[in-house]
């Protein structure tokens, strides 16, 4: 399973990117760089990632750095699934 591909699908779905993020690499900045990603959208992305991968994020697990780039988000999920 390619976590990055799944992450990009979830971002595309929640943020309605219409395929704009399909080829984003791990270094692609997210928070502050993608205007669609506001605080409500962060929760939406988190919820859908949890649903699709089947992990549960505790309330104090996430901070701003998790959503810094595609890479930090992928790393966060890999850690959850380990």
């Amino acid at each position: 399973m390619d976590i990055r591909v799944e992450v990009l699908r979830v971002l595309d779905e929640v943020l309605c990117l219409d395929g704009r993020g399909r080829d984003w690499g791990l270094e692609q900045p997210l928070l502050g760089a993608v205007p669609e990603l506001d605080s409500m959208a962060v929760i939406g992305v988190l919820n859908l990632l949890e649903e699709r991968f089947g992990f549960i994020v505790e309330d104090d697990d996430v901070d701003g750095r998790t959503f810094e780039t595609v890479g930090t988000l992928v790393g966060f999920i890999a850690e959850k699934l380990a």
């Binding site: 949890e50 699709r52 991968f53 089947g54």
Partner: protein, 277 residues
């Protein structure tokens, strides 16, 4: 001339002065099977209403009888989510299943959407029946579903400056003490939250029915989510006959405006016949 299908709305007894709103739709003759529909939790139930109504129409055209029941405290049933327990809901499913089984000498089939699948899963576990199952975009973990429900409070209602974590912790401690919580206009009893939290999507040992699980996705990819794919694998290894699929369409149980996923209905129509063959 084609006969108009039966369509009747009535109340079933839900225990302790609770009346459960039930909607029965069926062809006039030659009923192939009887489907019991269990709806999602809270707002997802309302958002999915149109889509479910459309699916019911198509299923009835194909020869299936359908009973939709609003669980206690939901939709047009009486009671409140604050006064309803998890056991009440399982009892409600019992009442509805019995009604269908007494009415139709054909297989009872279970059809759930989102958290409705969790409720049916728990009910199946207790009743050990081999009823065929159609799951629409099932919630895989009740704990996760409730965590998302509580998170809505933080997303929508916590004023600037208030600590979101403290708000969540406050709700958790109230639930631990058996109190209810209010989120997005829904005041829910601790029993319901705890019951849902502990429910898992699974099948009892020696389950003999057939299963069809369908997910919905807005993009035209055709893979199950990683978690559901792993569930399906596990069930198959346990001897359950499972088919799965992905329909293209919007997450109609979430969208603010009414949306539909006709592809999901079409996939389901094909699957239903296989479930009882």
């Amino acid at each position: 001339m084609k006969e108009e299908p039966t369509r009747e709305a009535f109340f079933l007894p839900g225990g302790q002065d609770v009346r459960l709103f039930a909607l029965h739709s069926a062809p006039r003759r030659n009923v192939r099977g009887a489907l019991l529909f269990v709806h999602p939790f809270a707002e997802e139930m309302n958002r999915a209403r149109r889509m479910v109504a459309l699916a019911v129409q198509r299923f009835v055209d194909d020869g299936w009888a359908v009973l939709q029941v609003d669980l206690a405290g939901c939709g047009d049933s009486s009671g409140t989510l604050e006064s309803t327990s998890w056991e009440d809901w399982l009892g409600n499913v019992d009442v509805a299943a019995t009604w269908l089984q007494e009415r139709y000498p054909v297989p009872l089939m279970l059809w759930g959407l989102r958290a409705g699948c969790l409720i049916l899963s728990e009910w199946l576990g207790r009743n050990k029946g081999g009823h065929p199952v159609l799951y629409w975009h099932p919630v895989s973990s009740g704990r996760q579903h409730m965590s998302h429900f509580l998170r809505m409070k933080v997303a929508g209602e916590v004023p600037e400056g208030l600590d979101a974590r403290a708000v969540l912790q406050g709700m958790r401690s109230r639930l631990d003490l058996g109190g209810s919580v209010e989120v997005a206009g829904y005041t829910v009893s601790a029993s319901l939250v705890k019951g849902l939290e502990q429910s898992m999507l699974d099948f009892p040992a020696a389950y003999g029915g057939r299963v069809c699980v369908l997910e919905v996705n807005s993009s035209t990819r055709c893979e199950l989510s990683p978690i559901l794919a792993s569930f399906v694998n596990r069930w198959r290894q346990g001897g359950v006959i499972v088919e799965s699929g992905v329909a293209t369409g919007p997450a109609f149980w979430l969208t603010q405006e009414v949306t539909l996923a006709p592809d999901l209905i079409e996939l389901s129509r094909e699957a239903l016949a296989r479930l009882v063959s």
